[in-house]
């Protein structure tokens, strides 16, 4: 290892430093170098208490937390595909054909990952070069998140375009990593959602090779795509009986199926279980805020409970916990809402931010059939509101303390 370090420092580094031939590629060299080795520089002025965790390690932790979702998503794509073409049925043991499922899933996910990282990091490199700062690690997480919130059958060029849009308009115009107002991955998804609505509307996600024939009844619709059809029809009416029956125990969208994630949907978001494992990792290493996660869940549950109480249609009538298992609620809660840059910064603010995020997620999903999933919109909306929430939290604190000061005086 030492020999390698010596070789890099003595032989390679001079080419990239000031005066070297490859000076313009310094940012590239620097970022790859610090990936492999801890940067050698120390604090120059004064003493600071320093935590060993820097941005790179934070990002690596988040990526580790996402691995359960990634692995499960890979398997699930293959699983849904084989179900779709009738190779297996819902009665087949889940572990059957494990490797062919993983293989099929990987053949879909790896290109998405490559495109997302390639485009995103490419743009980061260009901006780092123009602005003459070292490359930030901010995109490592976004680049992983973007494929996980895409449907499996999305075209690669669309993902590339959306990534470019999100990195440039969502992040770089505001000044780069740590300056963005909106969550980058969600910006990419929102871009696709409005630009190519037929591809990402969340109603039907059935993918396969050309020439595959799908068995009858395999519509590939997501749970919420089905439920959106019940809006405008009275609850428990006979017309929606086929849809209701999909949500009973033992059916495709039963509570446990949705908890584990055995349903069609975006790649990484179907499994609440995998998201919870990720949440546990993030909370253990202290990266995600428990306040955001808890209040997000509480907000979603409160709204789902209110809807369940009134139950004007079958979508509203879903059991509160079952409602939360659907779609990307858990994924958004664990990986998107907790984004430390775009969330509220004050402790009270985090509670308010999370609560309304969860509340709006369920409200948008149920009230607006054009948006079968409301989590994306709700989190982006709360991202925009976060600075205002913080402002009022701080102002009220100042007022409180001023009052106390006045009394004491």
């Amino acid at each position: 290892m030492k020999a390698l370090k010596k070789l890099i420092d003595n032989k390679l580094k001079p080419h990239f430093e000031e005066g070297g031939k490859l000076k313009r590629f310094w940012v590239v060299f620097d970022s790859l170098d610090t990936f492999a080795f801890v940067p050698g520089h120390t604090t120059k002025s004064g003493t600071h208490i320093r935590d060993g965790i820097d941005m790179k390690r934070t990002m690596m932790m988040v990526i580790i937390a996402m691995i359960p979702c990634l692995l499960f998503g890979t398997w699930n794509i293959g699983h849904q595909y084989l179900l779709g073409i009738g190779e297996i049925t819902s009665a087949t043991p889940l572990m059957d054909m494990f490797w062919s499922k993983m293989g099929w899933g990987a053949s879909r996910i790896l290109p998405l990952l490559a495109v997302s990282y390639g485009v995103g990091l490419g743009i980061e490199f260009i901006f780092a070069g123009i602005r003459k700062h070292s490359i930030n690690e901010g995109f490592l997480v976004s680049g992983m998140l973007i494929p996980l919130i895409m449907p499996a059958d999305i075209s690669l060029w669309m993902v590339g375009l959306a990534t470019a849009f999100a990195v440039v308009i969502g992040k770089e115009v505001f000044g780069g990593t740590g300056m963005n107002i909106l969550n980058v991955a969600l910006t990419a998804r929102a871009f696709l959602f409005f630009a190519y609505p037929t591809k990402i509307s969340g109603n039907v996600w059935l993918m396969g090779n050309e020439g595959d024939t799908f068995i009858d009844g395999a519509t590939g619709a997501t749970a919420m795509g089905e439920l959106a059809n019940t809006i405008g029809i009275d609850a428990n009416s006979p017309a929606t009986e086929p849809i209701r029956s999909m949500f009973t125990d033992g059916s495709v969208y039963s509570f446990w199926n949705q908890f584990i994630g055995l349903e069609p949907g975006s790649i990484g978001e179907t499994s609440a279980l995998a998201c919870l494992i990720g949440a546990a990792i993030l909370l253990l290493v202290g990266i995600a805020s428990w306040r955001v996660i808890l209040s997000f869940f509480a907000g979603g549950f409160a709204m789902a409970f209110i809807f369940h109480t009134f139950a004007a249609n079958d979508f509203m009538g879903v059991e509160p916990l079952h409602q939360l298992m659907m779609g990307g609620f858990f994924f958004g809660m664990v990986f998107m809402a907790t984004d430390p840059v775009t969330a509220a910064q004050t402790n009270t603010g985090k509670l308010i931010y999370g609560f309304f995020g969860g509340l709006f997620s369920i409200m948008i999903r149920v009230f607006n059939p054009a948006y079968p999933e409301g989590v994306m919109m709700a989190i982006l909306f709360m991202n925009v509101m976060a600075p205002m929430i913080d402002h009022y939290v701080i102002q009220s604190n100042i007022k409180k303390r001023l009052k106390r000061a006045a009394v004491a005086a």
């Binding site: 060029w157 669309m158 115009v173 871009f191 409005f194 630009a195 037929t198």
Partner: protein, 230 residues
């Protein structure tokens, strides 16, 4: 006495195409653009830039109204009582807008329909009121006309630039049927068969805001004088 003679001399020397007057036309094109620098007239820039033909018609209408209003107000600037000047300006602008609207209805009914209320809303276009208040009320008709031409063209080129981006990527065509030229398909069918799709976001108003934002971004990064200190 001496000041009067100076003024008279100045009047004699100042020709319509003097350097100062030329700057009245060139400044609003970039350094003092009504849309990207003064951020006026944004609403119409967002609303009618889905198609190039609409942007062209809108620009021409605004240019006509702006020149007419600036010249008329400038001619009347000594007669208009200060207290009711806004009302007088509104009457002048409104009359011109009605003329434009009727002409459009008669000769370009398709575009007129698509522009719908936005022709009428030229009355409230901040650029026009802004130029009347800031320039025409205090200057002679000649410079006022130059100022109007500069601002009108400054408005027009931003509109056109936004409309070109939005129509090409949003609809994949350049539709000039309303101007009697015809419709051009930009991307061959084979493109669409390979999976290319028109970008629906481009048709929605938010994208116009983003395109205008990108133009402002490029402009500011090229012209350091425009960057504010913080």
């Amino acid at each position: 006495m001496s000041t009067e003679t100076q003024e008279l001399q100045a009047v004699k020397k100042e020709s319509l195409f003097s350097k100062k007057n030329k700057r009245l036309v060139t400044d609003p094109l970039s350094d003092n653009n009504p849309i990207t620098i003064q951020v006026l007239g944004i609403c119409s820039a967002l609303a009618i830039t889905v198609q190039i033909q609409q942007a062209i018609m809108m620009s021409l209408s605004v240019l006509f109204v702006l020149i007419g209003a600036n010249v008329i107000v400038s001619l009347l600037r000594k007669v208009i009582p200060d207290r009711i000047r806004i009302i007088v300006q509104l009457v002048i602008v409104a009359s011109l807008v009605i003329i434009v609207n009727e002409v459009l209805k008669a000769y370009a009914p398709d575009i007129s329909e698509k522009l719908s209320v936005f022709v009428g809303l030229i009355i409230t276009n901040c650029i026009i009121m802004g130029r009347l208040e800031a320039f025409a009320l205090a200057n002679k008709p000649g410079p006022s006309m130059m100022d109007a031409i500069g601002n009108g063209i400054g408005y027009a080129w931003i509109l056109l630039a936004v409309a070109i981006v939005r129509e090409i990527f949003g609809s994949g065509t350049i539709n000039l049927e309303g101007l009697g030229i015809g419709k051009f398909q930009l991307f061959p069918e084979a493109f669409y068969e390979m999976g290319y799709m028109n970008n629906n976001l481009m048709i929605l108003p938010p994208m116009a805001l983003i395109v205008v934002g990108v133009i402002i971004w490029i402009q500011r990064s090229r012209n350091k004088a425009l960057i504010e200190e913080h």
